[in-house]
Amino acid sequence: MGLTLPEAPGATVSSMSPNWMTTRVDAVINWGRANSLWPMPFGTACCAIEFMASAAARFDLSRFGMERMSFSPRQADLLICAGRLPFKLAPVIRKIWDQMPQPKWAISMGACASTGGIFDTYAMVQGIDTIIPVDVYVPGCPPRPEGLIYGITMLQKKVRGETLFDWNLRDERPLGPEGLFLPAPRIDEISEPFGNSVHQTRSA
C-alpha cells in the first residue's frame, strides 16, 4: 500500500517516508476531538462572568483548542452550563442539548448548576444532571477560570479514553415516557436538601 504522488505518477512512497505514520483509529480521532472541543456557552449567572474571563486573553481557553465558541448548538461539542438553572429554563437547556449533534459532552460549572447550590427553592433545578447527562462537574461559587480550565482538561482526558467502537457511548438519551430524564424517585433522592437548607422544612 502506498500513495501516488501527483508530480511523479506511478511512483510509490517508500515506507521510510515522513509522510506516513501508523496509529490507532481511537487515538487519532480522540486526539482531534479532545483538542477542538467547541463549547456552547449556556451562561445564566455569575459563573458566566468567570467563563468569559476563561475565554478572554488572560486565561485564554484557546490554548486548549476551545477558541471557537459555538453559539449555535448545531456546531457545538461541549455544553457548558455556567450558572443556576431555573425550572423555566429547564426545557430550553434540554432543547439545546437535543439539538447538539453527537459526539457531545456537558460540563456543569459551579455549585448551582451541579446541585442547585444555595437556591434550594421552588424555582430552581437541583442540579442539571436531572435534565441532561453531565460529564464533568466543576465545583466553586463561582469557580475560578483555572478551575474551569482544569475541568475542561479533565474532560479532554475522558475524551482521549473513549473508544469509537463502544456503540452505546454516543447514544442519544432522550426524555423517558413520563417526560423525565431520570426516574422520578432518583430525582427526588438527589434533590434532597443538604447542608444548611435541611433546617427549612417543606411546610415552612
Binding site: K88, A90, P91, D120, T130, I131, L175, G179, L180, D188
Partner: protein
C-alpha cells in the same frame, strides 16, 4: 409642574377613604380604601405624582394582618415620594383596579404582583404570569402559605417544567412562528383571539 399635594390635601379630597397615614423613616405612607384606590391614584397623578416607581405587595407573617398592595409614586418636579397602600383580606379573593391606563409601565409590574401574590388587577389588558411560566399552577410563590420548595415533589416540578413549551411564553405579536399557539392555556388563546393585547 405644580407641586405634589400633601396628605391633608388627599384627605380633604377623599375624606374617610384615606383610612390611615403614617410617616415611617421619613416616608409618607397613606392607606386608601380598595374601592377608591384607582380614583385616588388618578388624582395624585394629575396633581403631580407623575412617575410610578413600582407596584408591589406585602404579606405579613401575622395572619391577622392584611395583605397590602403598594404603589410607590414620585413627583419628579419636586423629588417628593408618596407610598399608597391598599389593605386586602388575604383570606378573600384578592382584587384591585388596574392602573395600566394611567401608567403604561404598570403593565409588567401588575403582572408580576399577580404572578407572585395572586392579586387580580381588574381591567388589566393581559394579566398572565410574568416570572413563572404560563402553565405554572403550583400557586403564587411569595404568599406566606407557599412553602419555600414549592408544593410538588422535585420530580413533579421537573416533569412539569420539562413539559412546558418555552415558546408559549410569547404574545401573538412575538410569535412569528405561531406554532406554540396550541400550547397556550385555553383562556389565553381566547383572549389573544379577541385581540385584547395592545389595545390599551
Amino acid at each position: 409642574m405644580s407641586p405634589a399635594p400633601d396628605v391633608p390635601a388627599l384627605r380633604a379630597k377623599f375624606g374617610t377613604a384615606v383610612t390611615r397615614h403614617a410617616v415611617i423613616a421619613g416616608d409618607d405612607i397613606v392607606w386608601i380604601a380598595a374601592d377608591r384606590a384607582r380614583e385616588a391614584l388618578a388624582w395624585l397623578k394629575a396633581e403631580g405624582y407623575g412617575y410610578l416607581v413600582d407596584i408591589t405587595a406585602v404579606e405579613y407573617r401575622d395572619p391577622e394582618l392584611p395583605l397590602e398592595v403598594v404603589w410607590m409614586l414620585r413627583d419628579l418636579g419636586t423629588a417628593r415620594d408618596l407610598r399608597v397602600k391598599v389593605a386586602l383580606d388575604p383570606k378573600a379573593p384578592l382584587a384591585v383596579d388596574s392602573v395600566v391606563d394611567l401608567w403604561r409601565g404598570a403593565d409588567w409590574l401588575e403582572r408580576e404582583v399577580y404572578d407572585m401574590f395572586g392579586v387580580t388587577f381588574r381591567g388589566h389588558p393581559d394579566l398572565r404570569r410574568l416570572l413563572m411560566w404560563e402553565t405554572y399552577h403550583e400557586g403564587h410563590p411569595l404568599r406566606k402559605g407557599f412553602p419555600l420548595r414549592g408544593h410538588f415533589s422535585r420530580a413533579e416540578q421537573t416533569r412539569q417544567a420539562l413539559a412546558a413549551n418555552p415558546e408559549a411564553h410569547y404574545s401573538m405579536e412575538e410569535l412569528s412562528i405561531a406554532e406554540a399557539y396550541d400550547d397556550l392555556p385555553q383562556e389565553m388563546r381566547e383572549r389573544l383571539a379577541r385581540g385584547e393585547r395592545g389595545n390599551v
